[in-house]
Symmetry: C2
């Protein structure tokens, strides 16, 4: 079972966690906080440390009630954390909509070298409308357009990581030959979105390619994941939908030639657990009591795609929403909860502040352990991205009480395997595409030019 520690929001995943007496309100800009969390997650054998990202202020609450606003840029933060950890995988999120393939390929290759093969790229197309304003685009590109770009983008990035073969640098001092020109490859790409002739200026990453992670759940997102992702992070509210999601993704994946046939599926999971159910409930209520209604409305507005709900009665129903170009799957979930299940606005934001649409388990340590095992054994998940409501407290609670139970049941490891993140997860290392192609280039035509 694969376990990720989702630590994007400094004080924890619950939207009001910063108000908790134990919280360090400077956490999102406090390096020491992240060093402590990263070291602890490694000590407890988490497989990955996960940072979400968007080029915009988070939870765009204009009134100042929300505690998740500014944060570290993830590639720089994970490069720093690579120096205080040895085993844990480092997952940085980056947007294909708001970065350039060349710059992104460099950054992840560099992080992979710095971390000795522990880098992972969570590919997103970004659902924040403010990102377009921040970057100076006329508008946030439409969903289909974002995914068209993402599809070309990832192919370019993988090719860029192949620019230099693994053994391209004999560095023969006597002969004066540093690299072997036959092992240097230029990508000639002419696509609908990108047109470039590019050679990366970073050597091939230790993992070949950093691990490819994705989080999109739309039709286009699933297709992209089926073709290219090795790990998928997903929001699933219950086991049935998680099983359906996993089966759908497996079916799609089987239609593509894949180096690693199985996709590691990690639903997000928020846990409130205690020795008794009452103790667990108290942990929820303690945090829920800290939500100001103004903030709940503001957060919900953001989650449905920037539609302003601030004038609405929180005890009333969610109004019919105009079309939006933002995250469609999270919005669809909120609409389902509102229009089919009949949750009012307050109930909707309370649901969202605890979990943002991810599964939430509330109960005794034994109950939570059993639920996790049940999901795992029923093919709903290969593991979980744990979203601690309160950091570091809930991470410690989970690690000290749930993980040992999972180890006892034999579903969670007792120590790290050696090697890179791919090796630890049992994933194959990608071969260089220029090398594997040389025998078949003539048949397949000169789609990519092997210059020189």
């Amino acid at each position: 079972m694969v376990m990720g520690a989702y630590v994007s929001y400094g004080t924890g995943h619950h939207a009001a966690s910063w108000r908790h007496p134990s919280s360090d309100t400077t956490a999102t800009r406090n390096l020491d906080h992240y060093v402590e969390v990263a070291r602890y997650a490694e000590e407890r054998l988490f497989d990955t440390l996960f940072l979400s990202d968007a080029p915009a202020v988070f939870n765009d609450d204009q009134a100042g009630f929300g505690g998740r606003v500014t944060f570290f840029e993830p590639l720089t933060l994970l490069s720093a954390l690579a120096m205080v950890t040895e085993h844990i995988g480092l997952v940085a999120t980056s947007s294909t909509t708001y970065k350039e393939p060349y710059n992104l390929a460099r950054e992840y290759a560099s992080l992979d070298i710095i971390s000795r093969g522990r880098a992972a790229w969570n590919l997103v197309t970004t659902s924040k409308l403010a990102a377009a304003r921040n970057l100076g685009l006329p508008a946030h590109p439409a969903h289909a357009e974002r995914y068209e770009r993402a599809n070309e983008f990832i192919d370019i990035v993988c090719r860029l990581w192949d620019t230099w073969e693994d053994d391209a640098f004999p560095a023969d001092k006597a002969e004066g030959q540093f690299y072997d020109p036959a092992k240097r490859h230029r990508l000639r790409h002419r696509g609908r979105v990108f047109s470039l002739d590019a050679e990366l200026n970073v050597s091939r990453p230790p993992q070949g390619y950093p691990l490819i992670v994705q989080a999109g759940s739309s039709e286009a997102g699933r297709e992209l994941a089926a073709r290219t992702a090795e790990m998928v992070f997903t929001a699933q509210p219950d086991m049935e939908s998680a099983v359906a999601f996993a089966q759908d993704l497996d079916r799609r994946a089987s239609r593509h030639p894949r180096l690693n046939p199985d996709i590691i599926i990690l639903p997000g999971l928020t846990v409130y657990a205690g020795r008794t159910e009452k103790e667990a409930r108290e942990k929820v209520e303690e945090l829920q009591a800290l939500i100001r209604p103004e903030f709940g409305l503001s957060m919900l507005s953001d989650l449905v795609g920037g539609y302003d709900l601030s004038g609405c009665d929180i005890e009333g129903p969610l109004p019919q929403l105009p079309p939006s170009n933002a995250n469609t799957s999270r919005r669809a979930l909120i609409e389902k909860l509102a229009y089919e299940d009949g949750l009012n606005i307050r109930q909707l934001y309370e649901r969202m502040t605890t979990s943002r649409g991810h599964m939430t388990l509330i109960g005794t340590y034994d109950f939570v352990t059993d639920e996790i095992v049940r999901w795992f054994e029923n093919g709903a998940a290969d593991g979980f991205n744990i979203m601690p409501p309160l950091l570091p407290e809930s991470l410690r609670d989970f690690s000290e009480n749930i993980l040992p139970r999972l180890q006892h049941k034999g579903v969670f490891k007792q120590k790290y395997r050696p090697g890179t993140l791919r090796e630890k997860l049992g994933l194959r290392r990608p071969e260089n595409q220029y090398v594997t192609e040389t025998v078949t280039t003539d048949e397949r035509g000169q789609h990519h030019d092997h210059a020189r």
Copy 2:
């Protein structure tokens, strides 16, 4: 006297340094090498660690003779090195032509937080023609166009660093108010190059703004530096031209309202020194003997802007070069050496392989020390960016033999000052422009909109 350690090229600044018996040929992709160099430079009280950069393969020698090819992405590498150092400034180069202001502002703000106020941005417009091909631009933009973009770019980036006032986060747990909306500022920028409405998602950097460094020597480059730079890195072949450059820059700077009136000018300096002059000469010759002519030609081709010289006789003169859109000041220097001083092609590339146009001092430790003091006392330099021909060897040689002599003469410090890089260098911290403007906004018109 300010001392920088220029460590971009893993095995050292001499183009054939990788062939030296002492060299680690994996240095440009070896984190341990950089950790050792960074720690050593700090132990020896260097003020800054300097990484040059371009989004392209370095020294674009297609035949494989040159050892400077792939390298770390600088922001990720310096974030890692921030964790193993405490005092040394971390200068990362980034291009205004091939990055977006929002992404760049985030990365440097994040590095400044990670390093507790030691980040510096060396702004370049990039002179490598391959960068355009790598990023998919139709052509490398013209010099004037690059500088027009750079001028707007830096103003945007500084404003983005001001998005959140230093005390924007009261984080009042009792009231549930995390930030003060009056201390959050949106930049509304409508320029010739950029048009955006942006708010940074990183808190204000510890230094206010990371230190602004520049390296352009053209007319447009000097004007940009005079208006915005706090430190200038420059290639000056002799003291007279360095004095003229410094005077010109001071004159230009005096015409601009500047927070820190004086620009810290650091010429690049390559030193070959020994107990005797003979010993120093041997150190040069040992490295010069390692240059293959094919590589010398290839490197020179690259330095004059991508014009292919591979068919030329190395004992003959430099042919008349067609116009180029690449680094104009380095090319002008090469043309001067060729057409006015009569250097043939071999002499040109030998000059360039040792120094790339920067000052080179060859002689006894005492001679070199005296020359450094002479430059310093004659207003040619506020210090130097030391470009060790061989790493770490030449850095050790300089640190053990020249630095103590400079300390003895009272021109180099005995220990670091406390505080951020700005504080160590005696530079003022920039105030937030939104704060200083509030009194005068009406008079100056609504150039920047304080939207919220």
